[in-house]
């Protein structure tokens, strides 16, 4: 089970990648997509939406159920992964790459530090790497 060490994580199974000072890319972990099974639909937030850390901003729907995806940090939605509209399966196939959900322009720099490390995520959810 891949849990890239350069990424940070949330208790709700989002991963976060720092892409320069002003952009944090967000997706869901391998562990999460495996539990979800085949993703059939992703509802993404509108670009420009202001979000708060911990707020539900997207929905991922699989053959099993529908789950909320939470903003890991506060800020503004900068871009969304339009590909997921026609290819929701990218979330399963490439969870840390092409399966990204949205990018946030963060408003509170300190929040990045409070996210979980790869090791903490693995330990909390007892996922072996």
């Amino acid at each position: 089970m891949k849990i890239p060490s350069e990424l940070r994580y949330t208790k709700t199974h989002e991963w976060v990648r720092r892409q320069g000072e002003r952009e944090l890319v967000v997706g869901i972990t391998e562990h999460a997509q495996e539990e979800l099974k085949d993703v059939v639909f992703v509802e993404l937030p509108p670009v420009g939406k202001q979000v708060k850390a911990g707020e539900a901003v997207a929905v991922v729907e699989s053959v099993k159920a529908a789950f909320d995806i939470y903003a890991p940090v506060s800020g503004t939605i900068a871009t969304v992964n339009a590909q997921l509209g026609s290819k929701p399966q990218l979330v399963n196939q490439d969870a840390y790459g092409e399966g990204w959900f949205f990018a946030i322009a963060p408003s509170q720099p300190g929040e990045w530090e409070q996210l979980m490390s790869a090791g903490d995520y693995a330990k909390t959810f007892q996922v072996s790497t």
Partner: protein
């Protein structure tokens, strides 16, 4: 079994109930024999009036239409009448296919791309459509025509209560909703413009113009439609409707003193994940055979709970089935013929009624099978209704209940069920009643 759970006597299981309540003596009369019971029930039933005993010209949301015998014959089959909810697809293929066919027919009739498995009634379907528009646009205002059924508007208000949504009404002095008025009132915070056609007064709305005015400001267009009229009028989908709803009772279902009823709901494809209700879908199984399932269930409350598109988790299965059989029996040609009969007979009745002394028109708009007439000042239209009723004719619905400005006016409906002789009797009886008092 009592031994297995360690209880000596059955009565011990009732020990929590106070002794005096356990087996109370009830003041019931002696039982009746089957013969006595049938006679008693028949006596009570005979106090009711049905369209078999009276000529009813009542409409206003529930309609007296002919239902071909095949509808009862098929819908009452055990396989349909006893089927319950289709959540286990493998055991519900018949029900699911019937629902799928129903959805398909509703789409064809309304000119829309997707329809659900039905809701409770026209009123709640309308309210649910308004909620979809609010959710989709994120706006907080709604514009509804006063020619939409007054009780549907009441239900809409109930659904919106406490939501912080502002509901504004569009007056209809000419009998139809004017596009210029819509253009004036639709602002960028309006989520939807809601109209009905034929409207409550029976008049046909000019949908294309109304839709254009609404869309110009990004508002959705919700149309409530009388399904029998769709036999000849342009489908609302072709005129620009975003959501089409209505009451399906007039498709193969009796009036039954007001219910059960059948709400249909259809929308454009892009709204499919926001709409309420069950959706039957067609797919193929592991052996490449065609099969039917409930689909897009992630909208529904058993999965999304408080985030679901609606709290509804049922449909009007038997009524939707009857509507489907009814439409299959008629076919597009038959439905068109029924619609034409409605137009012809109602217009004949209208012309004849306007020749009765002291009767005058109210609106001058084209109508389908309902129209409004009023009486000269000093004529008691309530008394006339009573006099007609004594002659087994229900002449019309008095409008003062909902439209004070139209106090004394009648909403009269003539369907294909009325013969020329019956209509002539209506006109003659009314004429005699008017002349007897007013000369």
């Amino acid at each position: 079994m009592l031994r297995a759970i360690g209880v000596a006597r059955f009565e011990e299981l009732l020990s929590d109930i106070p002794a005096q309540l356990r087996m109370p003596t009830l003041a019931l009369p002696a039982g009746l024999s089957e013969l006595e019971l049938l006679a008693k029930a028949k006596g009570l039933a005979q106090l009711n009036q049905s369209t078999e005993q009276v000529d009813s010209y009542l409409g206003a949301g529930m309609y007296d239409h002919h239902i071909p015998a095949v509808v009862d014959a098929l819908a009452s089959r055990g396989e349909f009448a006893t089927a319950y909810t289709p959540y286990q697809a493998e055991a519900s293929q018949g029900t699911l296919q019937a629902i799928y066919e129903y959805q398909t027919m509703i789409c064809e009739l309304t000119g829309m791309e997707v329809a659900n498995a039905s809701l409770y009634d026209g009123a709640s379907s309308l309210a649910e459509a308004a909620l979809v528009a609010l959710r989709t646009t994120g706006r907080q205002r709604l514009l509804v025509s006063q020619a939409v059924h007054p009780e549907y508007r009441q239900v809409l208000r109930t659904y919106l209560d406490g939501n912080g949504v502002h509901l504004a009404e569009l007056p209809v002095p000419s009998g139809i909703t004017e596009a210029s008025r819509v253009a004036e009132q639709v602002s960028p915070d309006v989520a939807a413009v809601i109209v009905q056609t034929p409207n409550f007064f029976g008049c046909l709305e000019t949908l294309a113009e109304l839709a254009e005015a609404a869309h110009a400001k990004g508002a959705l267009v919700i149309v409530c439609v009388y399904p029998v009229a769709l036999g000849i009028i342009q489908p609302p989908g072709a005129a620009g409707a975003d959501i089409v709803v209505g009451e399906g009772q007039s498709l193969g279902n009796p009036m039954s003193y007001g219910g059960p009823t059948l709400g249909f709901f259809a929308a454009r494809q892009e709204l499919v994940r926001k709409i309420p209700g069950r959706l039957a879908g067609r797919t193929i199984d592991a052996e490449q055979q065609c099969g039917y399932v409930l689909t897009l269930q992630a909208r529904e409350q058993h999965i999304r709970r408080e985030k679901a598109s609606s709290n509804i988790c049922t449909n009007e299965g038997l009524l939707a089935l009857r509507a489907t059989i009814h439409l299959s029996a008629l076919g597009p040609q038959g439905l068109r013929e029924v619609a034409l009969l409605n137009v012809q007979k109602s217009h004949y009745a209208y012309e004849q009624l306007l020749q009765v002394p002291h009767v005058a028109p109210v609106f001058t708009q084209p109508f389908f099978n309902e129209f409004v007439i009023r009486f000269s000042e000093g004529v008691s239209s309530d008394r006339l209704l009573r006099q007609l009723s004594a002659e087994r004719i229900l002449g019309g619905v008095g409008l003062q209940r909902w439209y004070p400005a139209l106090a004394g006016a009648w909403l009269v409906c003539v369907t294909e069920t009325k013969t020329k002789a019956q209509i002539d009797r209506f006109v003659e009886t009314l004429t005699k009643a008017v002349q007897a008092t007013h000369g």
